[in-house]
């Protein structure tokens, strides 16, 4: 087992641009990024006959690319992708990086080693960001999405997952409990995170049993899609364009702070967040996640969310038994349990040739879910 501190770069683009991004990655020698399908949502005018007015959700498919690179190459890789996909323009996609710990089995394995043909231009990115992930029942995601969009933070993205936990210990009766989840991911500024978290908990009624789970994670820096609204503009530039230019000039988003002071909501004050947690993300070959999740839960993890990813095999082959079908397992645990759980997962065969897995560890400063009346 080897632990490497590295940068995890996530790039989220519309499918129309996806090929450009894939080409940019392979141009840098990163042949096998993880790709997950998701949907990205923005607001639009209601059309046709509508009694209620208001705004409708416009949904488009996005491809979410994830790679890990050595810390020193972080900005170089990000700049290259921004250049290739023209992410400095609004409405094409988002890119952000997190500083995480990568655990691999093989000493020789590790982060993607990149090769650069030319120095890309330097783009100014926003720092001090916080990611907020909300896991809710399939079909409930749009409630969170709408709340996030109406706060005007960023363009949310939704991915699908399957929950594992208590359900799997129930025997066949488990089929009566739906396991399908939607994971809503938003990135906001550090200082807005608290307010946004409270607002999303309210919107999703996450303080009630069985509604879902929400957690935050630090994001080092990023360039986010600010086009929240698609519709007619009656001005020379859209608000989104203006916002992204101001962000760029100021190099920070402090100026668009939305939540001032602490929340005055009495219920929110009483709310106790779970703190000092860690997010363990296991990446492995398709079909192995169930067993690894079981091992993790035996070691004390309370639940996990599984998603499907693909990791293309480069056409020139030579990778033997590698498979493009991959699974991701996400677990939020108290920091103290990180080590026993990682060890248990490794013992369950994470690093063998059949599984070919790796683990990403990232801090998770705050989380919230219904914890009972205690």
């Amino acid at each position: 087992m080897k632990r490497i501190a590295c940068a995890k770069i996530t790039c989220e683009v519309y499918q129309e641009i996806s090929k450009t991004v894939a080409a940019a990655f392979s141009g840098m020698g990163i042949a096998r990024p993880y790709i997950q399908s998701g949907r990205s949502i923005m607001l639009g005018e209601k059309r046709g006959w509508s009694l209620t007015g208001g705004q409708r959700l416009i949904e488009e498919m996005v491809d979410i690319y994830r790679i890990t690179v050595p810390l020193e190459q972080e900005s170089h890789v990000m700049n290259s992708i921004i250049q290739a996909a023209m992410l400095d323009q609004e409405g094409r996609g988002s890119i952000y990086s997190e500083h995480v710990e990568l655990i691999v089995g093989d000493e020789s394995a590790g982060t993607s080693q990149t090769t650069f043909a030319a120095e890309p231009p330097r783009y100014s990115t926003i720092q001090h960001l916080t990611g907020i992930s909300t896991i809710v029942q399939r079909g409930q995601g749009d409630v969170i999405v709408r709340a996030a969009l109406e706060m005007g933070i960023c363009v949310p993205s939704v991915t699908y997952g399957i929950g594992a936990g208590l359900r799997d210990k129930l025997g066949l009766i488990r089929i009566t409990i739906p396991a399908e989840k939607e994971i809503v991911n938003i990135i906001t500024t550090h200082h807005d995170a608290q307010g946004a978290l409270a607002r999303l908990i309210e919107a999703g009624k996450l303080d009630q049993p069985g509604k879902g789970f929400i957690f935050t994670y630090p994001v080092a820096r990023g360039l986010l899609n600010t086009r929240l609204y698609l519709g007619r503009h009656f001005s020379a530039a859209s608000l989104g364009q203006i916002v992204s230019v101001l962000d760029e000039i100021k190099g920070t988003t402090d100026w668009r702070r939305k939540f001032t002071g602490t929340s005055d909501h009495s219920r929110a004050k009483k709310r106790t967040y779970l703190r000092e947690l860690v997010d363990i993300t296991v990446l492995c070959r398709e079909g192995r996640a169930t067993e690894l999740a079981k091992a993790a839960m035996d070691a004390g993890a309370s639940g996990a969310t599984m998603s499907r990813l693909r990791q293309p095999i480069s056409p020139n082959g030579g990778q033997g038994k590698l498979s493009p079908a991959r699974e991701k397992l996400t677990m939020i645990l108290p920091a103290a349990m990180a080590d026993p759980v990682t060890t248990a997962i490794a013992a369950a065969g994470l690093f063998d040739a059949e599984t070919h897995g790796e683990i990403l560890l990232r801090p998770c400063p705050e989380a919230y879910t219904y914890t009972g009346g205690k």
């Binding site: 949907r39 059309r47 488009e60 939704v158 129930l170 009766i173 004390g300 493009p324």
Partner: protein, 713 residues
């Protein structure tokens, strides 16, 4: 296992109380049942209202039909859940493991066997034979041959077609081929063959059957399995750019290849059959050797002649009136000889004599003319619903459709892939309830949905033509022609009628001399309905029939389990951006339009070619314009639509109108129901692509309402 022992109770199964279990199970059952109620209420309500309000005809056997409709809902609930828990995960598992564990040859052999096997198992092909029962041997000898004595060859041809389709489908996934070239080659080829076939009267009639075979073969078991398999395989072999909804397209090929194989089969057997000819010529003794090529024996021909032939036809069979009389006399005398020769067709012989025989013949067989008439008037004995029989038969066919297939797949899984089955309890449970669901569904179709469909389908022509209601036939006793009155119509014809007092009400009943029986002083009256609006085949009357066709296609499509499964998969693979409801609406509208055209085809006797070639030409163009994803989904949903709900209902309408109007065959409606949904899905796809371009381009330049979206939402 050691880890489990260490921890106190983690890893161990949690015991839950009976009450807790009920608390979990009830909401689960409720949600699943409501889902199916939502998908079938439209078609049920529609059929009932149409019959009661528009046609003004009461529903027969209402209680049995209600039972049947409940069974349909129960059956669909079980079957869908079984698909999602058992059959589809199994298919997907094999799809993922097969390319990793087995070589190309094994994958292709597996595909071939699977494709052939599902065809043999799929019960829908039986539905085509029912439709074929109306085909007369002399009208369309080739069609008759393939649907009757050579029916096995037909099934094998379709099976070979589906097998080839699955093989090519898997090759497509493995080598990342586009679906478009297959369409560009297959569709024009099939169109050319069909056009060529229209020059031969025998092949002309076969064309409809061939296209329908393509539509029918892809049923509720095949589609989800093949889809899941494809989705699994593309997850393993997909290159980086096959994101989103990939894994579709096999269903399309499975709809196209059987058309080719059936037409080829027809061409092979063309030499063996005579040309279509008049009934009298066909049955005449000079033609006997030719006619016998279509039948197994002399006796079979004789039985068929009495079952389907008219007076001249039978006379021609015996070459002279005398010979016929002698035969009838012989048959009248000896009951045992009669049963030996006619077997189960004996009532057909009896009714032929009662209907067409001379007075003398009727006397010898029935004893009196009155007895002969009564024989005809006795309503066919209502088939006693033997619950045990029905249950056994329907569950047997359900088991036959699912179990051998899953055993084959499990064998492949354990023997070739040598894997442990994950979540085996769920998969086995899923397969069991899929079988149960299909059994319940079959019972429900038989006693409910297709019954009411038959009633409505049979009565539908009354919207544009006069239709006697045989089941409401009544005999008025002590009738005397003195009560008959005359009246003049607006266009100056004299018609006769009489009044009948029924309680306090007075009814007007048209009088026709031939229904008056002087000897017994009775008048036989068959109430008539229709046409709804003025004259025969009036525009509005036909319009109602077309509208009915549209709404029936629309409603039935929403209830199709295979389409529901496809929709769920599409929604999941596109992370909710391509909604299941959106796909289903697009497909349902397409099917509705297709069926309306199909009804028009039969009413106005439009050649199938005219209604199939233009949409397919347009489809070629739209396919060229559309992206791969929508081409696959669009063409697949076409193959999927014609499933166990749509097919019987559509066939009932086709038969109802066809027999009323005297069309030779009612085939082709299903093919129309497959062509038009492709159009609607591709059009919505083009709209979605335009919208996507706007999203990426940024400014939503036109703020005008989108018509396509409004139609679909």
């Amino acid at each position: 296992m050691a880890a489990e022992a260490k921890k106190d109770n983690s890893g161990k199964r949690i015991k839950i109380s009976f009450q807790q279990a009920i608390g979990l199970i009830l909401p689960y059952i409720k949600s699943r049942v409501m889902e199916q109620v939502r998908s079938v209420w439209l078609i049920i309500l529609y059929l009932v209202l149409f019959q009661i309000l528009v046609l003004g005809i009461p529903i027969l056997d209402a209680s049995i039909i209600t039972f049947g409709l409940i069974m349909v809902i129960v059956g669909l609930t079980f079957f869908m859940e079984g698909l999602l828990l058992g059959l589809m995960p199994l298919g997907e598992l094999i799809g993922i493991k097969l390319p990793q564990r087995a070589g190309l040859a094994v994958i292709l052999a597996f595909s071939l066997v699977l494709g052939f096997g599902v065809t043999l198992a799929e019960p829908a092909i039986g539905a085509l034979k029912i439709l074929g029962s109306a085909v007369k041997a002399w009208d369309a000898p080739l069609l008759f041959l393939l649907l009757n004595s050579h029916a096995n060859y037909l099934v094998f041809a379709v099976g070979a077609g589906v097998g080839m389709a699955v093989v090519f489908g898997m090759l497509r996934f493995l080598y990342n081929w586009s679906l478009k070239p297959f369409l560009y080659v297959m569709v024009p080829l099939l169109t050319l063959i069909s056009i060529g076939a229209s020059f031969d009267p025998n092949l002309l009639y076969l064309t409809g059957l061939a296209w329908d075979c393509g539509a029918v073969t892809t049923g509720p078991v095949t589609v989800p399995l093949v889809l899941a398999l494809g989705i699994g395989i593309t997850r393993i072999v997909g290159s980086s750019d096959t994101g989103g909804a990939s894994g579709f397209g096999v269903v399309t090929l499975a709809s196209l290849f059987p058309i080719l194989t059936v037409m080829l089969l027809g061409i092979v057997f063309l030499k063996n059959v005579p040309q279509p000819m008049a009934e009298t010529r066909f049955l005449s003794p000079d033609n006997r050797t030719t006619a016998l090529t279509l039948f197994d024996s002399d006796q079979a021909l004789l039985r068929y002649a009495f079952a389907h032939g008219g007076k001249e036809g039978i006379t021609s069979y015996f070459d002279s009136d005398d010979a016929r009389r002698a035969f009838v006399a012989e048959m009248s005398g000896d009951g045992s000889e009669r049963s030996r020769i006619f077997g189960t067709d004996e009532p057909r012989f009896m009714s032929w004599v009662a209907r067409n025989g001379t007075v003398e013949e009727k006397m010898t067989l029935f004893g009196s003319v009155k007895a002969a008439r009564e024989y005809l008037n006795t309503p066919a004995k209502p088939v006693v619903l033997n619950a045990a029989d029905l249950f056994l038969r329907d569950f047997q066919s359900a088991a036959q459709a699912i179990i051998p297939l899953t055993i084959f797949m499990l064998l492949v899984f354990f023997l070739i892939l040598r894997e442990k089955l994950p979540r085996a309890d769920e998969i086995v449970f899923g397969i069991v309830i899929a079988v149960a669901g299909m059994g319940f569904f079959n019972i429900g179709m038989e006693t409910g949905l297709s019954k009411i469909g038959d009633q409505v389908g049979g009565k539908l022509p009354s919207s544009f033509t006069t239709l006697p209601l045989e089941e409401q036939r009544e005999t008025i006793r002590n009738f005397t022609p003195e009560v008959v009155e005359k009246a003049i119509t607006v266009d100056g014809r004299v018609e006769t009628f009489f009044y009948r007092k029924n309680g306090r009400a007075v009814e007007v009943i048209p009088y026709s001399e031939k229904n008056y029986d002087e000897m017994n002083a009775t008048y036989t009256y068959v109430p008539q309905v229709g046409p709804l609006f003025g004259g025969e085949r009036s525009f509005w009357g036909v319009f109602v029939a077309l509208l009915f066709g549209f709404l029936m296609g629309y409603g039935a499509t929403l209830a199709e389990p295979a389409l529901n499964a496809l929709g769920l998969k599409v929604e999941e693979l596109t992370v909710g951006t391509f909604k299941k409801s959106f796909l289903m609406q697009a497909v349902a509208i397409g099917v509705g339009v297709g069926i309306a055209f199909g009804v028009a085809k039969i009413v106005w006797d439009i050649p199938l070619i005219w209604l199939l070639v233009p949409p397919y030409l347009l489809l070629m163009f739209l396919t060229k314009m559309s992206n791969e994803e929508y081409v696959n989904i669009g063409w697949d949903s076409a193959g999927v639509t014609t499933g166990p709900v749509t097919v019987p209902l559509v066939l009932a309408v086709g038969l109802g109108i066809g027999t009323r109007i005297g069309a030779v065959e009612g085939f082709g409606i299903l093919a129309m129901a497959s062509a038009y949904p492709i159009l609607s899905v591709l059009l919505t796809g083009l709209y979605a692509a335009r919208k996507r371009k706007q999203v990426v381009a940024g400014n939503d330049t036109d703020g005008s309402p989108e018509t396509v979206e409004e139609v679909a939402s």
